[in-house]
């Protein structure tokens, strides 16, 4: 009997025009959002390539200057391994002046969600002095555009997909109840639950089918380098999030008498869960865990820098105290790079508590949002989508941690060389520390998203069960 419902509902849905309109609307939105995403990602790639090319070019220039300086030194009969003065052969030219540009390549599914990539850096220049973020493709975008947000696939699925789900399902059985058809249908050996399930299945197949086809096409258009697993994961989020809305529609349908009431209740749910709750979560998070003002940070840095500069000699002495492995150099013998390193470390020390406060508050806010996100499936879905696309908080936090570790490695590589006056050799330029920009594996991603995804599945299951109970109630046919 279930199969008759499926066959019949498919035919009816296809004949009604609603299916065509919904499919067209969804595929159209996906196509536009895909275009926006692919465009943004290719611009981002362009910017990253420019950074990488500029960096390679400057490295070449350094290489040529070192080579020239080495031949001059050889011509002057100097040893190439002897102590070096501040100049073209000093490691400072790489360690502090040039540094290393670390780029954050877009993840395989980056075109699916612009996410934070329009706010966060596309690359970071690491020098002994610190890490300098380098803006991405959207760095000079009109702030209105950042405020309004992009119509990317994440937006389409978090925001519009539920509306399409609801538009197609809000009168699931109540429309037939209103027209008297339900009594006719239920006078046959079929349960209301089976009927509703059949109707839902057809609608789900249509919506999820369009989603799979549409996003698949975008994935292919975006170059499709790897990322099948991520695409599957994206679809999983779509299915669970869409499943929640389908189950909610069924639940409401099972409890109200008319499609108009169902429509109003579901519209209110959408407004509440997609628009109001995220906005409230955001306000509560920023009010409970206010990130200290960056103005404080600037002031602290200025004060620390001023202090370190004034106490040049003291900074140096302290530096040797902290680094007993280094041979102490007297202040009058110390050159500019040594003083710079010592000062930078003083500044970093002074800033450490301020930065810790920042990190702590930001992490608190993030944890809070993760926890409160469970109040709204839209928040869960949005975060999951961004994580799958690799443009969310997790990816940027991971990149931040990676560059921070890299910075430490960079300082360890070059600071001792400054104090030992080791010359920079050509070979050194080919053996600079590198960063392996690891992209989280799909399995790791899945296990990290397990909580939110399980929550979505559980919510959908609970609503589905409640709907089934509602449909099974005595009198539900009337």
């Amino acid at each position: 009997m279930g199969s008759s419902v499926l066959r019949f509902e498919t035919k009816r849905l296809l004949a009604s025009g609603a299916a065509g309109i919904t499919a067209l609307l969804l595929l159209g939105l996906i196509a536009y959002a895909g275009y926006v995403g692919v465009q943004h990602t290719s611009e981002q790639r362009g910017v990253i390539e420019t950074y990488a090319a500029d960096h390679a070019e400057s490295l070449d220039a350094v290489r040529q200057r070192v080579a020239a300086a080495e031949s001059t030194a050889v011509a002057n009969g100097e040893s190439l391994d002897g102590p070096v003065a501040f100049g073209s052969r000093h490691p400072y030219v790489i360690g502090s002046a040039q540094g290393r540009v670390l780029t954050l390549e877009p993840a395989p599914l980056a075109a699916f969600a612009v996410g934070q990539s329009d706010l966060q850096p596309a690359a970071v220049r690491v020098t002994i002095g610190g890490r300098e973020p380098m803006g991405g493709a959207a760095a000079l975008d009109h702030p209105l555009k950042l405020l309004a947000g992009h119509v990317d696939l994440a937006f389409v699925f978090v925001f519009f997909f539920p509306l399409l789900v609801l538009a197609l399902t809000f009168g699931l059985t109540s429309a037939e109840r209103e027209s008297g058809l339900l009594r006719m249908v239920l006078s046959h050996p079929i349960r209301l639950t089976t009927l509703a399930a059949g109707k839902l299945t057809v609608r789900a197949a249509l919506l999820f089918g369009c989603a799979a086809v549409g996003t698949g096409a975008v994935w292919l258009a975006s170059g499709a380098e790897g990322g099948v697993g991520r695409w599957a994961l994206w679809l999983l989020v779509v299915v669970l999030y869409g499943g929640f809305w389908l189950a909610l529609a069924a639940f409401v349908d099972s409890r109200v008498r008319t499609p108009v009431t169902a429509g109003l209740v579901l519209a209110a749910c959408w407004l509440g869960l997609v628009v109001v709750v995220p906005a409230v979560v955001n306000v509560v998070a920023t009010s409970l865990y206010p990130v200290p003002s960056r103005m404080d940070y600037v002031t602290a840095r200025r004060t620390a820098a001023g202090l370190a500069e004034r106490e040049g000699a003291a900074s140096l002495a302290r530096y040797f105290n902290d680094h007993p492995e280094l041979t102490t150099v007297e202040e009058e013998e110390a050159d500019f790079p040594m003083l710079r390193v010592a000062q930078d470390e003083r500044i970093a020390e002074a800033l450490a508590p301020v930065e810790a406060r920042f990190t702590e508050q930001k992490a608190g806010q993030q944890r809070f949002v993760r926890a409160l996100g469970y109040l709204s499936p839209a928040v869960l879905a949005q975060q999951a989508f961004l994580d799958v696309a690799g443009t969310g908080h997790a990816r940027y936090a991971a990149f931040d941690a990676q560059t921070e570790a890299f910075h430490e490695a960079w300082v360890d590589r070059f600071a001792p060389a400054y104090f030992e006056r080791q010359p920079l050799r050509l070979a050194d330029l080919d053996a600079l520390p590198t960063l392996d920009p690891q992209i989280e594996s799909t399995a790791d991603l899945l296990s990290r998203l397990a909580g939110p995804l399980a929550a979505l599945a559980l919510l959908a299951a609970l609503l589905g069960a409640a709907a089934s109970r509602g449909y099974g109630r005595a009198g539900s046919a009337l």
């Binding site: 906005a279 409230v280 002031t299 975060q383």
Partner: protein
Amino acid sequence: MTLTIARKEATEMARDGRFRWAVGIVLVLLLGSLVAGWTHYASAEAERATAQASDREVWLGQGEKNQHSATHFGAYAFKPTTPLTAADPGVLPYTGTSVFMEAHSGADADFRPAEDATTVQRLGSLTAASTLQLLVPLLILLLAFSAFAGERDAGTLRQLLSLGVPRKRLALGKALGVASPILLLVVPLAVVGVAALALLDGPGSPLATLGRASMLVGVYVAYFVLVLALSLLVSAWAGSSRTALVTLLGFWLVTSFVVPRVAVSAADALHPTPTLTAFEESWRAEREALPPWPDRVAEIEERLMEEQGVDTPDAITASVSGVALYEAERDETDLRRPLYAALGEQYETQTQTAQAVSILSPLLAVQLVSMGLAGSDHAHHRHFADAAEAYRYDYVQALNQDMIDENADWSFTVGREMWEEVPPFTYQTPSASWAVGRYGLSLGVLGAWTLALLVALPIAAGRLRAA
């Protein structure tokens, strides 16, 4: 008779439990967002004032150094905001909060608050502005959609018209009936808000803020009237209340969530801003027109030798470095400012394009004007950045000039007295008329919509049919 109808409408609404709930929720959200917005504004403003004062202390206490070294030690300008940004923070989260003012550099502000925020922010934030822009209009249309269509569905319209009630009076009565509960909700809030602003001492004169606040209230009230008129119009035209509801909800959804995104995307597509790398590349290209430092110094030495009638550079009795620094700063600034001005113009063109698109969504016009009046739009940010750049150039050149005046070389140093001569950075928020001036197009759109609706409504009411 009009009042009788209005009273009946208001009574019906007041007795509707759903209406009371909806109004309650919107009111709670509005008050909550105002409190949160105010708390945030007050702490940010206090932090800013402290930071600006302590940066001045750092400047004064920087110790003995060469004048030009001080221009690299630099100073910070922290962006103040008006108290109205508590209600509408606009693009503030997406614009920098501080400008580092240093020689040879004219960078835009750093540290956009959004960079430190969680990703939920991108789903939208609860502010008084978003409540007024999204939820109050929704409430109005939910109250008004059935005004005529509902009576037609129920058959009571036939009865009313058979009693000889003039259609236009009926329309006016309905409008007043729906408007009065909304006004009861909005007007006290507006009065309290404006009065609170008047009592508070924000940056800039309180009266300026008061003017902006009054206009802000006016814009929102005008928009509510517009939504009400539109709802009544659709209700009169639609065959059934279901059609009226679907039409109005569709309008709300499209104007609230689709048009604003499409408008800014279209503006960006039509008048694209450069990528950062392209912008930096064009600055590099411009800068190549300037002579390299040694050439500049040689040219100045030659010029001074000629002026002073001496034969060797060592004999020059003026600060070659000072003159070189002064002229380099001037030349660089002359090249850089047009670049930034062009970028700024591009932003302004994008804003204007978005305003033109707002003909499709009067809400977008309201959003743009609201940010402008609150001082949280990009134009105000640019105004601040321009003020910082003007200050930067003046103080850097004053110090470079001092090198010239003192005939100083690189080893010459000055101290606190000199630093005190540099005035502290102050910023004056532009006037309300300046703010409004940029949004003529949006105000025109709002006016056109209102006018069209006020013309169409009596016509539709006059043609009202019972079935």
